[in-house]
Amino acid sequence: MDKRLSSLSEAVTDIQDGATVMIGGFGGSGAPIELIHALIDRYLETGSPKGLTVINNNAGNGHVGIAAMIEQGMVAKMICSFPRSADPTVFTQAYLAGEIELELVPQGTLAERIRAGGAGIPGFFTPTSVGTDLAEGKPVQQFDGRDYVMERWLKADHALIKAELGDSLGNLTYRMAARNFSPLMAMAAAKTVVQVTKAVEPGAIDPEVIVTPGIFVDALVEVANPAQEEELNRAGAHHP
């Protein structure tokens, strides 16, 4: 078995119109820029995929990555905790124009909903958001005298994530705080595609340090020297 793909275009070829796509990263840290841009390039060439639901902590920054997806009109809905950034213009304009739907989720609830989706747990109770507008319409139950809100799992058709090392079986390590949501999203998507900074042979990663075991990964593609979203934005980059 070898999960390695030879090209980025091959990595994003089966994402359909209307699909739900989890995209790793917290701001620019961990954002799989090359995978996202390959998806945008496919859309510009073929008109597909569009009408996507994108799950990420944020809603893009500047004119690259998720912001560029929104700018091109590929995204129908964002599920995120914090749709603000240094330059949130693209999302803000689309949202205020009614062109994109927003499901706002507290950050810890977003993480746990994704984890639950990957772990086969359809719902869970959390103290987060009890008594606030974000708990409206959700069941509340008392445990040991305290109120908790029921939240549902979150799953996706695809996850696009970035990792540091990946072997041909899909075992992954991450780089510093770029880990964030990616191990959870790898679990929660029907198909997880990873861009790794260095692809290695099985055995090259110490089993003690593997963060995402290969069972959660369907395909990986090597992108040596990947772009960092924050650096792209500081340079004023646009995609395309």
Binding site: F26, P83, Q107, G108, T132, D133, L134, R179, E230, E231
Partner: protein, 227 residues
């Protein structure tokens, strides 16, 4: 009223209550300043929602590694003992009661301990981040804030009028005028600026300030007054 603490002085005062070895989350923005004023001989271990524990100070300009950031998307640094983890573990630390202190900003704090700090109403794009999680789980949830708004309206109130972040969650408020505990649905005054009379302080507060025992003088380093 002619005197109030600067943000740096409020942050300094909040830092004095953080014990050596405490696990601490500082909200993005103003609360991040608290890290600058750890008393000598004490070392808190800072947690940030995006999966880093025990990180160091901001790097020198030009030395940033943008894969190493805090929840405010600002660059941080490693130091011996730094740990990385994914987001579900990070919020397990938060909701699971493993943090000793969370320090947050506020639009309004009620005498009931309710906090409003994420939304000023239905206009614009709503964003919540980790605020609603952070108010649950930390052993102490403290607020640092100006005592009144820019228009002079009290921020310490009987009931919040803005959308809530959490219900009954705040245990202490460090304001530009006073240190106030929230106990049994009441504001209990612990310290106040010596230059303010009780009447002046009460007039700037939107709910009754209770006094139990001595009220200390709120005195902060003068050199931080302009910071």
């Amino acid at each position: 009223m002619n005197q109030k603490l600067s943000n740096a002085q409020i942050a300094w005062r909040a830092a004095q209550d953080i014990e050596d070895g405490a696990y601490v989350n500082l909200g993005i923005g103003f609360p991040e300043m608290v890290a600058r004023f750890q008393p000598p001989g004490r070392e808190a271990i800072f947690h940030t929602e995006n999966g880093v524990l025990g990180f160091g100070r901001a790097p020198e300009p030009g030395q940033e590694d943008w894969d190493l950031i805090n929840a405010g998307k600002k660059a941080i640094t490693l130091k011996p003992g730094t740990a990385f983890f994914h987001h579900a573990d990070s919020f397990a630390m938060v909701r699971g009661g493993h943090l000793d202190v969370a320090i947050l900003g506020a639009y309004e704090v009620a005498e009931t301990g309710d906090l409003a700090n994420w939304s000023t109403g239905p206009k614009g794009v709503p964003a919540v981040g980790g605020a609603m999680d952070l108010v649950h789980g930390a052993k102490r949830v403290a607020v640092i804030t100006d005592h009144v708004t820019k228009k002079g309206q009290p921020k310490l109130v009987e009931r919040c009028t803005l959308p809530l972040t959490g219900v009954g969650c705040v245990t202490r408020v460090y304001s530009s005028f006073a240190v106030v505990d929230i106990e049994g649905g009441r504001f209990v005054l612990r310290e106040k600026l010596p230059s303010l009379s009780m009447e002046e302080l009460q007039n700037a507060t939107g709910a009754k300030l209770h006094v139990e025992g001595a009220v200390g003088d709120l005195i902060c380093p003068e050199e931080l007054a302009d910071a």
